[in-house]
């Protein structure tokens, strides 16, 4: 028998402990950096985990969807709004950020659902290796489309958020960091509410567990899977936009490494578990920042992927992973 804690107690506890440890080890300044980076990883990791949860596919094109998202946001900002530099009026800035984010998320959502429709749905009943290889193919296609359209060199991302900083507990933190973290938290809470409390969210969880039984409840499986890809890509799009704002420039191959790290976050959290993916994102960012803080910057990626290997060897179900074989 296990003690019957409320279901949210364990993830909440793990998340809180992780944050406190991060804060103590990093100090305010670096903690702010780790939180920002973690927010980006978490947004991408959610997509890996949701897609895996529902179709058991590691969508290796997901990092590139994130990359396309950053280019789409850049294109909307420069071509549609003609933005190049900081927007100083706060109301305008917030409005622009909201509009660009919404447009990027919807645009990427549609692209994500389209990719599912043409690349993965035809292979739904094929051996599992087939969609996996297809995902890698989609990854190449996305990279090459972007490299052709925007060139293979880094592209400037309009820095519409002024570089102003505010003082907090002895550190100076950019408003951009604040925006990224708040935005990510809002999106993650919205996602949890959607999955946990709505009719469509229940349909997604049911489909993830037992597709045929969900069908017998009247769930349109194709539609549910399409919605899942839509949400996953929309979140990656939001991540891509803030990545551009945060890094200042974007490049066609940026999705590869960031995608791998977010994938590591999803595995660490327990693939298939959305709360786990969010926590995993922040933990992976912490590992990366901590490696830098203690002077091993060039080893930070090694550290991240060491975590991946350790998790796969010692706890493949991740921090919050589902126990296997629970069906009676």
């Amino acid at each position: 028998m296990t003690v019957n804690l409320p279901r949210f107690a364990r993830p909440l506890g793990i998340g809180a402990v992780a944050l406190i440890v991060e804060y103590l080890l990093l100090g305010t300044q670096q903690f702010a950096n780790a939180l920002t980076l973690g927010a980006i990883y978490a947004l991408i990791a959610l997509g890996y985990t949701m897609v895996y949860g529902i179709v058991e596919l590691i969508n290796f094109a997901h990092g590139d969807v994130f990359m396309v998202g950053s280019f789409l946001a850049m294109w909307i900002m420069t071509t549609i709004f003609g933005l190049t530099g900081p927007v100083t009026n706060l109301v305008n800035l917030v409005g622009l950020l909201a509009i660009v984010m919404l447009a990027t998320m919807v645009g990427m959502g549609l692209i994500g659902a389209f990719i599912e429709r043409v690349a993965y749905r035809p292979l739904r009943h094929a051996p599992r290796l087939a969609p996996l290889i297809t995902a890698i193919g989609v990854s190449f296609i996305l990279q090459n489309i972007i490299a052709t359209a925007f060139g293979p060199s880094p592209v400037n991302f309009p820095q519409i958020v002024p570089a102003d900083k505010f003082a907090l507990m002895g550190a100076r933190i950019a408003y951009l960091n604040l925006f990224i973290v708040i935005m990510a938290v809002v999106l993650m809470i919205a996602l949890q509410v959607f999955i946990g409390r709505t009719r469509l969210g229940r349909a997604m969880r049911s489909t993830a567990q037992d597709r045929e039984a969900a069908e017998l409840m009247g769930v349109d499986i194709n539609q549910t899977i399409a919605i899942t890809f839509f949400i996953a890509a929309a979140l990656a799009g939001a991540g891509g936009m803030v990545q551009g704002l945060y890094a200042g420039s974007i490049k066609f191959d940026l999705g590869f490494f960031v995608g791998l790290k977010a994938f590591t976050a999803a595995v660490l959290g327990g693939i298939g578990n959305t709360t786990g993916a969010a926590i995993g994102g922040f933990v992976i960012a912490f590992v990366e920042v901590y490696a830098t803080v203690i002077g091993y910057t060039q080893w930070s990626e090694v550290a991240v992927f060491t975590v991946l290997i350790l998790v796969l060897v010692f706890r493949p179900s991740g921090l919050l992973g589902q126990q296997l074989g629970e069906r009676a």
Binding site: R199, R202, A213, E215, L216, M217, G218, V219, E326
Partner: protein, 256 residues
């Protein structure tokens, strides 16, 4: 209120001819394949409004396949299925739920990581969510044990409770015909009695039932009529009482 007349003749396909609108569900020469395997080799049967009809037969005879073909999880390669007069042979499963076909599948297939309440709400997926309170109350009336565990996960239930949840979940869609696949499988004798009593209760409140059972004796006691499936076709059909007396049925399925 099982007013449909029962047939007396025992012969393949034999039946009195009821008024056409009395027939809720009809299969005509249905052939279903699993890849190359010819699982249903021309099944014809009918279910009338208000009846309990049972399908009995050995493992692999095609009982589960028949139910899956009716509920749209499989589609016949040949033949026709009609429900309330409409051809549903090609209709996908999720649309048939809306049309009024409920299917409680073999092995219960409850959502083990969803709570009892969430499982039941999934059962009512096709219905407006603000209209289901009455149905929830009804299910909890039939299965008081589910109410006690309303916020527990489905996977924490015992086998019998899971079966109750599976039946309750299928009821939540307010089906006009309920397909039950082996509801008594793996249950203790006392629970088996309970489940059969509840099946009769569900039927007496107006739901037509097509019951697949391993427990042929019990099934033939509660059902109005029965079909005996053998290697993908109907070998025998008739009123339950007559099937119970039939020499071949007694030997093969009632263990005498």
């Amino acid at each position: 209120m099982t007013g449909a007349p029962t047939t007396t003749a025992i012969a393949p396909g034999a039946s009195a001819s009821p008024a056409p609108d009395d027939i809720l569900l009809r299969l005509e020469d249905v052939h279903t394949y699993y890849g190359q395997i010819h699982a249903l080799q021309g099944v014809s049967l009918e279910v009338r409004r208000g009846e309990i009809v049972t399908l009995i037969g050995a493992n692999g005879a095609g009982k589960t396949t028949t139910l899956k073909t009716i509920s749209g999880l499989l589609h016949p390669r040949q033949g026709k299925i009609s429900f309330e007069g409409k051809d549903i042979s090609r209709t996908p499963a999720h649309q048939l739920v809306r049309a009024g076909i409920g299917h409680s599948p073999e092995g219960r297939r409850i959502f083990s990581r969803l709570t009892i309440l969430e499982n039941l709400k999934m059962g009512a997926f096709t219905r407006p969510q603000d209209e289901i309170q009455g149905d929830l109350d009804h299910v909890f009336e039939l299965f008081p044990r589910l109410k006690e565990r309303i916020s527990q996960r489905g996977g924490s239930l015992s086998g019998g409770e899971q079966q109750m949840l599976a039946i309750g979940r299928a009821m939540m869609a307010r089906p006009r015909v309920l397909l039950l696949d082996e509801p008594s499988l793996g249950l203790s004798p006392i629970l088996v009695q309970q489940i059969f009593a509840i099946i009769q209760e569900i039927n007496s409140s107006g739901t037509t039932i097509l019951l697949v059972e391993q427990n042929a004796l019990q099934a033939l006691i509660v059902a109005n009529r029965g079909y005996v499936l053998q290697t993908g076709h109907v070998a025998l059909s008739g009123a339950s009482a007559d099937l119970r007396e039939n020499e071949m049925v007694r030997k093969a399925y009632l263990g005498e």
